[in-house]
Amino acid sequence: MSARFVAPILMGLAMLGLWEAIVRSAAIPPYILPGPILVAKTLVTDWSTLWPALVVTMQITLEALLAAVVVGVLLAVLFSLSRWVELSLFPYAIILQVTPIVAIAPLIIAWVDDVHVSLLICAWLVAFFPILSNTVLGLRSVDRNLLDLFGLYGAGRWRTLVDLRLPAALPYFLGGLRISGGLALIGAVVAEFVAGSGGRESGLAWRILESGYQLKIPRMFAALVLISLAGIAIYLLLSLLSHLLLRRWHESAMAGE
């Protein structure tokens, strides 16, 4: 095992040890700051409430990410095909991106009856922009000479899109996807916070709020740990996907060789 793995793991263990030692030696009560061992225990004992909450949050996250991919890529392709569509729509995409989701989430939740759908819209709003802007960049970053070559052999717009622009944009799209994966999770959690009670489906954010009200701080920490782990898992999965798709040809996937 290389230092790349050993160093951060040792560092993490040391910090956890320090945390546990401080909590014990200063006798800090668990409702102020629980030690990592207590958090781990809570994760196990409260698994029956935390697991369904994780499933709910992950479901919203993944659905939002999927919607972000579909809408982001479709819009990007549309932009690349028509300058007019791009000029008229892109500013609004930027406005959507720069408006803080906490500020518009209450509106969306008020307008949309179905809580699940409103959460999905919020998470999607946060997640779709990196995919859109990266894919637009990628579709435009095509070798001029290759475009000429396609023209020389009489390739139409559609063929040029499928055989040249889309493959050229793939690395850019995957870069955007990695950012959007994390953002979709953040969007889902923020929206759950704003929505408060999720009714029959309560996600991790709601479990955090609820634990706060009930002073069940160890459970709050356990939920937090789950959100972090979910975020890391999404990032690793998308990185793996990116590596698998690009390893034969793209520089970014060859760093290790």
């Binding site: 000429d148 020389l152 052999y153 793209h250």
Partner: protein
């Protein structure tokens, strides 16, 4: 038989740069013609006009029998990095709508002609600069074009690789006798390859003079060290200097 005539062609780009002014040139079917000139003299523009990638601002390009199938080799290999050598060479056939099995068979054959049999499944990043250029040439020749346009294709390669590619290119040309138009800024390269050299002036480019290179083919690598070659290079250099002084 004449293939095409470039008549008094001028090209002014949108940014005001005048690349060509009253350039005229006739190209015979089956000949190997080099276009020789200093950097930025509009050689590439002339090639792009012939290919139909640009339209002339003034003047015309007259084809004896319409624009034939043509191949184009850029200064860079210009390969698609996401597909194999085979996929790259098969591209023109794919765009022409040929079925997969047939186009792959033809592409493999074209790769064999440029000395890359066995590299069908290699990705461009796994190939050297010279090999990438060979793939690029195979791609240009896979449609069996009547006219092959080359824009300083070997300029970025090392001397040894360039010599190999020059002799291999001549061999391909002698085998199939496409019309070759080869843009270069090297006197030595143009003398080695061509039957005729068109010398261009600095920008805005015009064709200043035409030099015939009467040496016989086949020209093997040893031709490059012969006294005949040295003499031809000397006279061509002198003609080039004359033309530049008069311009």
């Amino acid at each position: 038989m004449r293939l095409l005539a470039v008549r008094d062609v001028s090209k002014v780009f949108a940014n005001g740069v005048k690349a060509l002014e009253d350039a005229s040139l006739e190209i015979e079917a089956g000949e190997f013609l080099s276009v020789l000139g200093p950097s930025g003299c509009g050689k590439s523009t002339l090639l792009r006009l012939i290919a139909g990638l640009e339209t002339p601002s003034a003047g015309s390009i007259e084809w004896q029998q319409g624009r034939p199938d043509l191949g184009f080799v850029f200064q860079e290999p210009t390969l698609m990095p996401w597909t194999t050598a085979l996929g790259n060479v098969a591209l023109p056939l794919k765009l022409a709508g040929m079925a997969r099995s047939e186009r792959e068979a033809r592409a493999a054959e074209a790769l064999g002609h440029v000395g890359l049999a066995g590299f069908e499944r290699s990705y461009p990043r796994e190939l050297s600069g010279g090999m990438k250029m060979r793939v690029s040439i195979a791609r240009a020749l896979v449609t069996a074009p009547k006219l092959l346009l080359m824009d300083e294709p070997f300029a970025a390669l090392d001397e040894i690789t360039r010599r190999r590619l020059n002799t291999d290119l001549l061999e391909l040309w002698q085998r199939t006798r496409f019309t070759a138009v080869f843009v270069t800024h090297s006197v030595f390269e143009s003398v080695f390859l061509s039957q005729r050299i068109a010398v261009m002036s600095p920008r805005p480019g015009r064709v200043l003079s035409e030099i015939a290179i009467p040496a016989a083919y086949p020209r093997a690598e040893s031709f490059g060290t012969s006294a005949e070659y040295a003499a031809l290079c000397r006279t061509t250099s002198a003609r080039l200097a004359e033309a530049m002084a008069a311009a």
